[in-house]
């Protein structure tokens, strides 16, 4: 393999894009490892505790972009106490010290302090892109620092973060000389916005392609913004409250007509449903529509809007669309690839869609490959039909609001239905189960889900066998998360080496004991086995008592960094 000079190899590696492929390339030989390492510009770290930032900076000297994920997925649902961890500050600090030429930072489920944002903005002169998804810990003061000091900022994308709002001054912190913005998303902010500053910022950003506004931006400002930025590809409407007879509305209609490039539409965070017809003119161009935060759009207005969306590939919607509405989607959106139906009122426990909507979609949308579906009920027959109609699912996530509900018609478990899904969908990478399920469904998953990488289990199974089928059969499994299921030590300890081939395992309210977890930690020093001991439920006594203490929450992950030093008191690393 020494035939080519290094530069040639490096050039060839440029064509290798995905992280997986680059990881494979780096394992061929020492030479390839070395060249790949210094030439890799984009690094993905799926678990921020799997490796230390210094090591990353050392290995990838050409690093420009890093993606980090922090808390386990179930943190989204309040199963992980605050202060568990996932702090980005050490990473920013280490990169600043090592003089990494950081240009892009993408974070998910991490704790981001204002301090870290300030350090970020001052340490990397070429910094261009900040994407924060489901993060917390910062305020608009941190955003002000980013706006003020990141002179080359192209992208500021805030998705579903919990931000403490200290009012809208951060927008005025973009210097007058800043004209480089391509993407700005502040839809998740709750406070007031400096509207004139926003308008001026849009006016001096000729490259702006993506703009998602918060609820604080009213219709008249939206109209003026659209006049300034008709080149937008992606628009998130903030507030859409108006009088249909007003001058403002007429101006808006004119402004929207000029936005011929908009392909993605979202928002409508405050909406009076009348006169969404202003948007009908751009609907035929849309490939992506997200109305999942717009409960004010429903029934006829929603249907009328959707009937214009022939080219839709991605649709995120609330369940108030109903089965009938999904039938309209099925007949209109023939190119649909991804559908997410969220519950409009998660507290009540009633969803407005059933298995009929899902079946209708499967019949009409042959290209569907990704679904997240919150529904009132499901049947095996429906799932079997869906599997037959749509064998291309890559992601299949079903959530029946009553987590142990059986087949609504036969009262049987939903094992056969999910079994049909895994058998038909040979490329299935992600699966979330719900409803009444026995060990049988896991037998099917172990047998057929050969490409499965992520599996989410809740209130399912009868015995250790269920989990064992999965661990034995799913060779490509990377993330397994289980709650409230009767899996214990026998399953946990069946194949301990497997966990080093996976990113992480989460088990909460299962049958594993402290003794079992300790045994696992002892045999596998390359794993961090963390117990979350809230409210001092447990005692780290040792001895035979360990086997009587059931562990409420356990999270284990492979790591090269050893035990983490920032764990709070209630987290024990065994």
């Amino acid at each position: 393999m020494n035939y080519f000079p290094d530069e040639v190899l490096e050039h060839i590696f440029d064509f290798v894009g995905s992280h997986k492929d680059r990881n494979s390339v780096s394992q061929v030989c020492k030479l390839w490892y070395r060249i790949e390492s210094y030439s890799r510009q984009k690094v993905f770290v799926g678990n921020c505790y799997a490796i230390g930032p210094e090591r990353v900076a050392e290995r990838f000297s050409g690093l420009k972009s890093i993606t980090l994920k922090g808390k386990p997925h179930f943190a989204d649902f309040n199963l992980v106490p605050p202060d568990w961890g996932g702090f980005v500050y050490p990473w920013i600090e280490a990169f600043a010290r090592s003089r990494v030429g950081l240009e892009e930072l993408r974070l998910k489920r991490m704790v981001v302090s204002d301090e870290s944002l300030e350090l970020l903005s001052r340490s990397f002169p070429n910094f261009k892109s900040l994407v924060l998804v489901s993060c917390e810990g910062f305020t608009t003061d941190g955003l002000a620092a980013v706006a003020a000091y990141c002179r080359q900022l192209k992208e500021l994308d805030l998705q579903e973060n919990d931000v403490e709002d200290h009012r809208g001054h951060w927008l005025s912190c973009f210097p007058e000389s800043s004209t480089s913005l391509v993407s700005l998303n502040f839809a998740c902010l709750k406070g007031d916005i400096n509207l004139p500053a926003l308008e001026r910022l849009v006016a001096r950003s000729p490259n702006l392609k993506s703009l998602r506004l918060s609820r604080a931006v009213p219709l008249d400002v939206l109209q003026r913004i659209l006049i300034r930025a008709p080149q937008l590809l992606d628009l998130g409407v903030g507030s859409y409250l108006h009088d249909p007879d007003s001058e403002n509305y007429n101006k808006l209609v004119t402004a929207i007509q000029k936005c011929k490039s908009v392909r993605s539409l979202s928002g409508f965070l405050d909406v009076a449903p009348h006169c969404l017809s202003a948007f009908h003119i751009i609907c035929p161009n849309l490939t992506s529509l997200n109305l999942s935060y717009a409960p004010g759009i429903y029934d006829n207005e929603l249907i009328k809007l959707l009937r214009h969306c022939h080219k839709l590939q991605r649709l995120w919607i609330l369940d108030c669309i109903g089965d009938k509405g999904l039938e309209v989607v099925a007949s209109t959106c023939k190119d649909l690839e991804e559908l997410r139906v969220f519950p409009s009122d998660p507290y009540v426990g009633q969803a407005a869609v059933t298995e009929e909507g899902l079946v209708a979609i499967s019949r009409g949308c042959q290209k569907l490959n990704s679904i997240l579906y919150f529904c009132q009920q499901m049947t095996n027959a429906a799932l079997i039909t869906v599997a037959k109609n749509c064998p291309n699912f890559v992601r299949f996530r079903l959530c029946i609001l009553d987590p142990t509900k059986p087949d609504a018609v036969t009262q049987q478990p939903l094992d056969e239905g999910f079994g049909a899904i895994v058998q038909a969908c040979k490329d299935l990478k992600r699966l979330s189960l719900s409803g009444l399920l026995t060990d049988q469904v896991f037998l099917y998953i172990g047998m057929y889900a050969e490409q499965l990488e992520m599996l989410s289990i809740a209130f399912a199974g009868d015995s250790d066998k269920g989990m064992q089928y999965v661990l034995k059969g799913c060779k490509k499994l990377r993330k397994l998360e289980i709650r409230d299921s009767p899996f214990g030590n026998a399953a946990l300890l069946m194949d301990v080496a497997k966990y080093e081939t996976m990113r992480s395992l989460w088990m909460s309210s299962c049958e594993v004991t402290l003794g079992g977890c300790k045994a696992l930690a002892k045999r596998m020093p390359g794993l961090n086995v963390e117990i979350i001991n809230e409210n001092d439920q447990m005692e780290f006594v040792g001895g035979c008592d360990d086997d009587r203490q059931k562990v409420e929450k356990m999270y284990l992950y492979r790591t090269l960094a050893g035990q983490r030093r920032d764990a709070p008191e209630f987290v024990w690393t065994l």
Partner: protein, 201 residues
């Protein structure tokens, strides 16, 4: 939007604790952890009280009867279920609250409608209509009459200042916001107001 069914989550939040520890915790088997459809607290038989689900569930697979007998603790919200991101939950909850308060606020949507000679008053939500024609049509259907030019019927409303005004003079949105009460009068009482006009409708 379901606010009446709000179960005051903080008080009823069920944390599924270590199995077998206390009476309120249940072993995590499917038949017990059914947050079934019977969510309303009114369904609880006051005589039976809070029976532990461990007692009511038999070892056999007779799941249906378990569901019928299952105790209130299983009906409470389960932590982290349904698996909706807390950001989304909070936003939807706030939106629901906002809609509820908007609907209730004074001078807003629901106004009493009285018609001379009708035994009952009715209530309508002005926000549902987009203009006077739609309102008129709804009133006609509600009270089974036809409002034709030159007929005896006149629609009046009480505004925020307490004055009785003729319906139709002001723009619809202004009317929808300031109308507190509607009255449809018949006969000579109303004639003084119309004075040749059509009532603006």
């Amino acid at each position: 939007m379901g606010c009446e069914k709000d179960l005051n989550l903080e008080a009823t939040e069920l944390r599924l604790g270590l199995p077998g520890s206390t009476a309120s915790a249940e072993p995590p088997t499917p038949s017990n952890i059914s947050s079934n459809n019977k969510r309303q607290l009114a369904d609880i038989n006051p005589d039976s009280g809070f029976r532990s689900a461990a007692v009511s569930s038999s070892s056999s697979g007779d799941k249906k009867s378990d569901l019928d007998q299952s105790a209130p603790p299983a009906k409470a919200q389960v932590v982290g279920w349904p698996p909706v991101r807390s950001f989304r939950r909070n936003v939807l909850q706030q939106q629901a609250k906002k809609t509820a308060t908007e609907t209730e606020s004074a001078g807003g949507n629901y106004v009493k409608v009285s018609m001379d000679g009708a035994p009952y008053l009715r209530k309508i939500d002005l926000k549902v209509y987009s203009g006077y024609p739609q309102l008129l049509k709804a009133l006609e259907e509600m009270f089974k009459f036809r409002y034709i030019n030159g007929s005896d019927f006149v629609a009046t409303y009480e505004d925020k200042d307490g004055d009785w005004m003729l319906v139709g003079d002001v723009p619809w949105t202004m009317f929808a916001n300031c109308c507190k009460r509607l009255r449809i009068t018949k006969g000579s009482d109303a004639r003084g107001l119309t004075s040749g006009g059509t009532g603006g409708l």
